[in-house]
């Protein structure tokens, strides 16, 4: 019986691991491969198949009404290139995602820093602030929809009674107001996620480092800026990545509040794909839009992952 002795973390084996041990480890890894096969099969079925099928459909004229689908090459992609609704939907997606993540992220960070010292009997404040995260998206969306109704909504009632506005504001019925209103509701729902992530991140900041900074004469703002934010970077990158993906795919929130309207002022890519596929029954073109949307997501994901790696390296 041989015992493999691996070098400890951070140390160097004089001549690298023995060849036999390396071979043994490789064999053992290959033997274990079968254990991941069920997972790979499920992933292939639920992830790869739809993705591959969507790519395939994007090169066809498949419609739910017309059972005879024919290959159309790159026609759907050429059409997409000239589709003004697609560009509006793309712009809306970027505005919705960017502003939601930015506002919720900054809000979550500020609250996490403010609540950092809330201990003991004030800890419930943190719990209360986290509750929106537990509210189902559709429920939150409808709550905000009713609050922001032009006629009878509580927000307009308050604004009118305080004489802050002379007429009810068409929060959800005007292209100027609809997107900011939808973003506001989304920020309310997503801010607790950032609060949670940043609160956890702040707990990892070593007290000694903060004390050392304080000893060096750093003020509260300086400590936040030069010490705490530095420790929160990795958590922030991961949180932002997750929320960018979540908001890119955010269907129920917008559908429940505005359905993409008025006009197409809140139509994002996911809403557009849904409308194309299930209202106009144009599955081929919907797939082409979906594929482009997926590519954009992949580019974003790769960019963020690289940022994480660079963060780790630095």
């Amino acid at each position: 019986m041989t015992t493999e002795v691996l070098p400890a973390e951070g140390t160097t084996h004089p001549a690298g691991p023995p060849t036999w041990a390396r071979f043994h480890r490789l064999i053992r890894k290959k033997r274990m491969l079968w254990m991941v096969l069920p997972t790979l099969a499920i992933l292939a079925f639920v992830i790869a198949y739809p993705a591959v099928r969507a790519v395939q459909l994007s090169f066809t004229s498949t419609s739910l009404i017309n059972p005879v689908a024919r290959g159309v090459g790159f026609t759907n992609y050429r059409t997409l290139f000239h589709d003004s609704v697609f560009y509006t939907a793309l712009k809306n997606t970027l505005v919705f995602t960017g502003s939601s993540v930015l506002l919720a992220g900054v809000g979550g960070l500020v609250l996490a820093l403010l609540l950092e010292d809330f201990l003991g009997r004030f800890r419930w404040v943190q719990t209360v602030l986290l509750t929106p995260w537990a509210v189902p998206t559709v429920v939150a969306a409808y709550l905000f929809r009713y609050m922001f109704e032009e006629s009878g909504g509580v927000v307009n009632s308050v604004l009118l009674q305080l004489h802050l506005v002379s007429h009810a504001v068409p929060f959800l019925a005007s292209p100027q107001w609809s997107m900011p209103t939808v973003v506001l509701a989304n920020v309310w729902a997503q801010l607790p996620f950032f609060l949670l992530v940043f609160s956890a991140g702040l707990k990892t900041v070593p007290d000694e480092v903060v004390e050392a900074a304080r000893t060096d004469g750093a003020g509260r703002w300086s400590i936040v800026r030069h010490v705490k934010l530095h420790y929160l970077r990795s958590a922030a990158v991961i949180a932002v990545l997750l929320m960018v993906i979540a908001n890119f795919n955010n269907f129920p929130h917008i559908e429940s509040m505005t359905g993409g309207g008025p006009g197409i002022s809140t139509t994002t890519l996911v809403i557009y794909v849904y409308q194309l596929a299930f209202s106009s029954y144009d599955v081929g073109y919907a797939s082409a839009v979906g594929v482009v949307w997926l590519v954009i997501l992949l580019v974003l994901a790769v960019g963020f992952v690289r940022a994480v790696r660079m963060e780790g390296t630095s």
Binding site: L64, N66, S151, F251, P262, I264, D282
Partner: protein
Amino acid sequence: MSTSVDRTVGARRRQGRSRRGFGIAAVVAAGGMVLAACSSSSSSASSATSPASTAPVTITFANWASDESNTAPGLKAAIALYEKENPNVTIVSQPVSYSNIGSQLLLEVRSGDAPDVAEVQGDYTAALAYDSALAPLTPYAGSSFVKSLVPQSVTEGTYNGQFVATPWIIAPFGLWYNKNILASAGISGPPSTVTALESDLAKVKAKYPPSTGMIPFGFDSTNRSFGLDINWSFMKDFGATPMSESTTTLAVQTPQFTNYLSFIRSLGQNGYDVPNQLQGHFRAIAAVNKVAFAVDGPYFQSAVQATNHMTNAQFYSTFGVTTIPSGSSGTHYTVPTDHQLVMFKTAKNKAAAWKFMQWLTTSPQAVKDYTIPYEDALPPLKQTNPAWASLVNNPNFTAYKNVIEPTAIRPGWGPKYDVAFPPIMTGVETAMTTATPLAQIESTMQSQYKTALQSAGLNTP
């Protein structure tokens, strides 16, 4: 030392690859799940023959009536009664929301899993008919049955010369009005023309400032085929017919359509209507006497009563209904939103399925116990049956039968309608909510329609 550094860098690279892999997998998972919705199989089932009449039969019945609280109990009772009268038949009711039933049925047809019978309406019927998914009903219905139906409703269920959808409830849009609100605003009766309607809306608006929460006109402008259905009759008032299945351009860059958009713009800018609201939204507000006029089907009554629990007498004394106002031509138009029943080609027992469809749509029992009390609508029969004659002896049913139904016209429902409504309704809402020049809106509609037709492969006449 160099070995250690190499290993550390290698580990970081592996970690980076691992993280990148996780990130990509996460994105693929997120996107793939939504894209999965676009996937469909193209298999189709074959039709089956009818078993003996006493053999146990199961009929699957997809409908939205059992998905809505005001009609679900009635339909459940009606089905139970039918099963009692036909002990060998089991009806499996499949509730599907009204908004989703069109696409769901098409998807089920694609996957070879269509129900035997379904409740459909308007453009949904057209989509299934153009998909060749529906069984012709004439061989089962017989000519005497077809002749007993309101002719207009038979026309509405006929596609490519085939009678494929039998009418269940007669439901054209009418102009509903709240008598109390009209009286308080000094309006003596409902308007007959669009001009009179605009005048009445101004009076209501003057009487009730925004702080009262009053909506002068509950008019659906949402970007969906039902939204275009509602707008269609008003477009016709202005002499505009925005699209037809036989052409590949929208007839929106015309003086008639521009006049229609001007009318729509005045609704939005004067605060008469709330843009981007589903018709159902106005029903709930109408129930608390905050909507003066609304364009809706006869089911408006059951929806309102389900909210405010008015008795029929109270409802009739508060709400009236009349034809959609006419334009300068003096001709009234309405769009039928008749609920229809269709049988799929894949239905396993077509004879039994038809027997159930016939019973539910026209039997005195079903009409008396379900159609009139729960849908608040007329059955599709020409002759009034003594069993339910007294139930329809009220002003609203009389208005629907005598003045509204005869004005019904069928819009250009079909594949092109499905790709035409997004650009048209987007333009309508843009006209309603912005100051964008109308000519520019019409031009955008045209180009968006051209793109949509091209992507759907429908860019040939």
